[in-house]
Symmetry: C2
Subunit: 322 residues, 2 copies
Amino acid sequence: MAAKQKVLLLGATGETGASILKGLQESGNFDIEVLVRPASMNKPSVQKIQEQGIKTWGIDLDESSDLMSALSGVDVLISAIGPQDVMQQKKLLQAAKSAGIKRIVPCAFITVAPPHGAMLLRDEKEEVYNDIKLLGIPYTIIDVGFWYQISFPSLPSGKVDYASVTPNNIIHDDGTAPNILTDLRDIGRFVARIICDDRTLNKYVYTFGDILSENEIYRIAEELSGEKVASTPMSTEQIENGVAQAKAALSQDPQDPMKRTFLYLSEYQHSKYVRKDNRPECADYLGYLNARSLYPDFTPISFREFFVEVLGGKVRKVYASS
Amino acid sequence: MAAKQKVLLLGATGETGASILKGLQESGNFDIEVLVRPASMNKPSVQKIQEQGIKTWGIDLDESSDLMSALSGVDVLISAIGPQDVMQQKKLLQAAKSAGIKRIVPCAFITVAPPHGAMLLRDEKEEVYNDIKLLGIPYTIIDVGFWYQISFPSLPSGKVDYASVTPNNIIHDDGTAPNILTDLRDIGRFVARIICDDRTLNKYVYTFGDILSENEIYRIAEELSGEKVASTPMSTEQIENGVAQAKAALSQDPQDPMKRTFLYLSEYQHSKYVRKDNRPECADYLGYLNARSLYPDFTPISFREFFVEVLGGKVRKVYASS
């Protein structure tokens, strides 16, 4: 029997990282180790990982010799580092190259968008991808669109607000822009398949459970709940103004993580609903492989299934635990 | 019979552009028009093109209404603009998008190298490619490696110097780095095939006649000429110093075209012989299609055939006409 692939995961305590960790564990195909900041070693979320018998490295990315120890013998390095720390990944790359890792999966895991000029977050990721290509490290970029978990409307009864990060009923523009959507819990299941697959080496891949417009999402929510959803329109002009304001605010205070987050969020809206980037046609244009075509045997959670769970009170609110 | 594709070509009087013009004419599949600067309309090289009955637009790229007239009805826009003018292409893109052109072939036509950090010239081209992707214009990137015409050594007899831009016998490092090489005259023949091919839409393609190291080139030159070629070694350190000096010189005078050219040339050496980017393995890694695999029916000129012509006094020196 072939030896299991050894995977080192960064960002395992974040939403995406936790999904990846779970997906890799479920598959049974990997020896998993986790890398966290030294200061995070005592966090409950990290201790929970250690209690599962997963080797956990508490390493400062500036300490290259420690990094080399953690990377020794690693086949696949996966980063699900937070959006504020994208550039920190640059510190890993030379060590990953020296350690001879067989594949790096840098932190992508966002919507599909062109490499430069559509979203600051995408631009920053591109810098990391370019550094990987400059070093010639084998890689796979995995984007997932937007999560179901942050793509459903509030209901008049208030019964789904327990699961919503910011309950709202906004419809952007005319609500017809289709969007690539993945259940957060399926990200790890896709990743476990993608990183074992030679076809995805040095390629971009996008995952999805459903491709839906806001109008379609609202129709499903109404049908399943029996409630009538009253939507609040947001025009293209309002979206564009939001981006301009967020840019102006960040330029006044470039190190402020909240201002940075507001820009990320307003640019997501702009890219998804004004530019309409987060679509299969755009992914094809940009050279992405379609994970559903690669893995026809795997049936991800549909948005309809997800929303039945939401209505049943069974869904965990994201960003709720630390 | 299907209508011919209408092609608008920029840079038709340069070495690459002239090869493309000839290749398109030879194929007979295209209605060709040419775009030049207004000031170039009276140049002999442009008048020669007009004398062949090719419609020639003398247009300032800052005049968007003139540009829209030239782009109206164009299927394929090909740019073979010079390396000093790469950024000028940005002025074309919005008009190309508005005109609904079916494919843009921006000025690539260089060696294979990663998108950022290996060569300033490649970095600048990447900016243009990113703008194309931001606008979502269908594109094809065509790189050709280095030309045979600037890849052969001087002989002791001096008999091939008539065809050499800068006769020399330098061997970089140990002379073993393989390089993607295309006969300048074949570039247009490849382009004529690539731009009619749906498989190359939104893709990177590399062409080659031969893949050869300097040692192999010198061996062929010795065998065909019967002369012994004495080579002058250039070490990795010397190549790196050359890049550092060229960067320092350009930073002192960023607008100086000669200093810019020196940096381009020293970075070509570094990328080809130190980084060893200009290889099929690197092209595969970067996602390029192989034009030889796409067009097995087309046999490009081999380096051996080219050098027989050089020895026979039959080759035109490049960069010799204006």
